[in-house]
Symmetry: C2
Subunit: 217 residues, 2 copies
Amino acid sequence: MPRPTKQSPERGDARTRLLEAARDVIRQKGFAATSVDDLCQSAGVTKGAFFHHFKTKDALGVAAANYWAETTSALFAGAPYHKPDDPLDRVLAYLDFRKGIIGGETFEYTCLVGTMTQEVHDSAPAIRDACAASIFGHAATLEADIEAARAQRGIDAEWTAESLARHTQAVLQGGFILAKATGDSDLARESVDHLIRYVRGLFGLDVEPQTSTTREN
Amino acid sequence: MPRPTKQSPERGDARTRLLEAARDVIRQKGFAATSVDDLCQSAGVTKGAFFHHFKTKDALGVAAANYWAETTSALFAGAPYHKPDDPLDRVLAYLDFRKGIIGGETFEYTCLVGTMTQEVHDSAPAIRDACAASIFGHAATLEADIEAARAQRGIDAEWTAESLARHTQAVLQGGFILAKATGDSDLARESVDHLIRYVRGLFGLDVEPQTSTTREN
DNA sequence: TACTACATACCGACCGACCGGTATGTATGT
DNA sequence: ACATACATACCGGTCGGTCGGTATGTAGTA
């Protein structure tokens, strides 16, 4: 009987290791293409451990989305872009921060919940809702700074802070898709650059069009 | 032997019907979650017909991406946004056209190749490349108008036409993700509105920030 | 301290359903 | 007659999920 007396290393954290494996493997292969065995192997646990912690594969999907929401919330909450006193500077620092963390391998910088949303939006409402909560919850953390910047500068905008916050997430998600299409993270950063230029323009910073011959036209 | 003498309706177009089924079903369920049997049932053909026309499921994925590229090329080539004499008007008319065709059910307006890219970018290079060719091939059709608009207006830009064309696709793809997250196509249109505002700003059209008290500041 | 009772965490063999793909046969047009 | 375009049956393998069992830790009791 091949019962290994040597128990698994770090007993008790199988759940976390599965969630971390899900975070990385699903970003590489997608949710449907990732098997439970894939996750167990990547996490170094057995199938029994998997179904001890998660009732179904879908339940793991929900848990992975929630884990993503928690960990990214902590990451952004502790990021330095909150430092500036000027709210607009905070918004621009946020965008710069987002741009800065794009790089390396695709599975390292792309968004788990964006990936899962795309796949399961029509077939697994529970996962989709958990993903949506993560995306829009994060967007909501931008809203206050955007609105404060708008009010402070007296911008009489046709757009709302809520809408612009959502748009930033759309641009990021779209940039990730282009990056995946070519395997080049530059394409994601490129779209963030356009987004930064857009936001600066909305707030009247120096992005007015310049003619090559004259600045008046 | 339950061999139905009644042959399938419209013999000879099984391939096209499979491609159309793939276009719609994959947009709903994703590529990996769509089985060959799903496609056959949706197309009203048998598994034999499927493997007669496509060597593997992946080969269908490539063919579906190419079919998507062909049909959308035809759609955009025949669209009315090419009419204006002014190249910038054509660009803005394109964006308006894109906005106008967003609506209804998710699987009716979202992008097949964007969806597939997200899923298979790391595991099926052939499909990914076919998707990338569709996305960037379409972006390239915008490049001429954008560059013409830039040259005509003498804009001394920090961005390239190629980059802006790619960004339009990123915004659309990202908008689709947000729309899928909530089931509401308004979110996709909302991001296109931001994109339109951005492009207008790049070309000096009336989107300068307005303070609520005065237009000078 | 020693023993019991019990919950939690985990193991891995196993199951039935389903998957992509194949083998083989047949209807139809030329 | 022959090639093309299908249909049907089926295979080997993989999938998500189940289940009986076993370590391990903890609380209670005496």
